[in-house]
Symmetry: C2
Subunit: 198 residues, 2 copies
């Protein structure tokens, strides 16, 4: 006996999500069957809405419901600093800290020769265009500390530095609250290299 | 900064699923943002369809797109045996074995004094009605081996036995391929009690 078509289709859809295999997808599908009608309708509407109502900000590439995002439209943000991240969710993570007051730029990926992602596949051209604005004094590169992230940081740094703009990179080192015993070697190396005076 | 409304709503919806917390929900929502338009639309349609197109079989309580399910409508199934399970997904699990050829009955839960679930909240009345059909010779109770599952099995057994119908329970014992070393005490006890002659 096969699952009835509607539930089989829902299992297939759940399986397209990352980290969800056949067993979990089946469990979620049967759970959905017993959910409140209203909650399921809201779920379906939210899925459609995310694809239909959200666009990338035409200035920085962040997600927004408008033409440009809240941050780019906010005149109180420091217009002299641009922080470059890989993905839109990184913007949200940094905003939660409530410390950085400048602007952002979302690359939508990293340079990756293995995956065939080159500079033209990323949101780099529009970053360079933004730098022609004389207000920008510093570009902070906050790509992840992976091989591809580091390579992208180096690439951007070489691209931007000739124009005289300061290029910085987020500090790497031990996580706050972590044990030296459990830190990996590269992180420890970065922590020693980036040591600060007390 | 808050997430744009469409993504915040989708995060809320993902969080209503079992075993998905705020972090995973956020990851899934951003993943959805980058999914193919078509896949997201299919996902939304599947959600709606599961609530709209699936009903409980009016005979056994299994899920179906028709008035009665494939199994109840199949004249080749052994009409003399009814296997009682807690949930519709248990029917699918048993059907995968391709060994049992009788009918099913889905209770949609178990008796649970703690949660306030009594006999009237379960699909029991329709089971008793089915037994008035003289064809039924055996009822196999396949509720789970939990306290509530065992109590439900005892309750059904006492309810059905006076009518002269044979009532059986699925065997409990060691899982195939499992180590005695790691089996819990209750399972070992059941395995000893239910030992068979070689």
């Amino acid at each position: 006996m096969q699952y009835p078509a509607p539930i089989a289709k829902l299992i297939d859809s759940y399986m397209k999500l990352p980290g969800i295999g056949a067993k979990t997808a089946t469990r979620l599908a049967f759970y959905t069957l017993n959910m409140k009608e209203e909650d399921v309708t809201d779920f379906a509407k939210a899925l459609i809405s995310v694809k239909r109502d959200l666009h990338f900000c035409e200035i920085c590439g962040n997600i927004t419901e408008e033409k440009s995002c809240d941050i780019c439209r906010n005149p109180n943000r420091d217009q002299s600093t641009i922080l470059v991240v890989e993905e839109t969710k990184d913007v949200m993570s940094l905003e939660k800290v409530r410390e950085y007051k400048g602007l952002y730029h979302v690359l939508h990926g990293v340079l990756s020769p293995m995956d065939g992602t080159g500079p033209d596949d990323l949101n780099i051209a529009s970053l360079i265009k933004r730098l022609h604005n004389n207000e920008v004094e510093e570009v902070i590169i906050a790509t992840n500390a992976t091989t591809d992230g580091e390579a992208t940081a180096m690439y951007l740094s070489r691209l931007i530095k000739p124009s005289g703009i300061k290029v910085t990179r987020l500090a790497h080192g031990l996580s706050v609250g972590s044990d030296i015993e459990y830190a990996d070697e590269i992180t420890l190396l970065k922590a020693v290299e980036g040591r600060t005076e007390l």
